[in-house]
Symmetry: C2
Subunit: 111 residues, 2 copies
DNA sequence: CATGTGCTGAACCACATGGTTCAGCACGAG
DNA sequence: CTCGTGCTGAACCATGTGGTTCAGCACATG
């Protein structure tokens, strides 16, 4: 099941609203760094850092086109992240079915 | 679609291998802080911080039982996190079907 | 009641993150 | 060739993170 570092980077990358916004934006098609920075009011350098984080997490791929850098989606890692959640979630679901029932029962009874 | 802060916390919480391990461990049933700290070789205080992060992210619920703190799963937020990924992933999939085809085509042709 | 154990809070540390400014490189257009 | 634009790198800053130690509170047990 997937290396830890991979998940670390992927989840960390997703933990920032600016970066999630970039991903959403990229869903509409590739964009240059400037395109991505403009709507946020952030500096190019700032956006550059975010994009690098996304790239190192494998959520995005970039290529230099002339003097602009094109950024586009690369969803493989997103699959990894979701796979992790999905796997354990399913595993837990069964547990919780029984557990929740047990707890609701207990909560009714004082201590 | 889910508040940003909620996702921030959930993803950030998942971005640490220690915390993911805690979640996995809790899948086997509730545990005390000490139970969780022991196998990691971490101090109680350290583990306490991790658990607090998980709790603030809504991934875990804790209750004080006597002088020990019982930690157990609370998967609602995990649903949120997965929902976000799943939503956009599906949205992107279509895009990428076309896009990837286009790109593979281009890659074959020199520049 | 006395004591040991489990947790909590405060203070501290090193390092990562999210952002800036400023200087400069490199490419495309005139 | 020259110039403006888009990006990049370095330096810097404030704040957050992941961990520690140490002091102390609170509960269960003898």
């Amino acid at each position: 099941m997937v290396q830890h570092e991979v998940l670390d980077r992927a989840f960390a990358a997703l933990a920032d609203p600016t970066r999630r916004a970039v991903l959403v934006r990229l869903g509409e098609g590739p964009a240059s760094l400037g395109d991505l920075a403009a709507p946020t009011g952030m500096t190019l350098t700032g956006m550059g850092k975010h994009v690098r984080v996304l790239e190192e997490a494998g959520l995005v791929r970039t290529t230099k086109v002339g003097r602009t850098r094109q950024v586009r989606l690369g969803t493989e890692r997103l699959d990894d992240a979701m796979a992790w959640i999905a796997f354990y979630q399913r595993l837990w679901e069964r547990r919780l079915d029984g557990l929740e029932a047990y707890l609701t029962l207990r909560e009714g009874q004082d201590t």
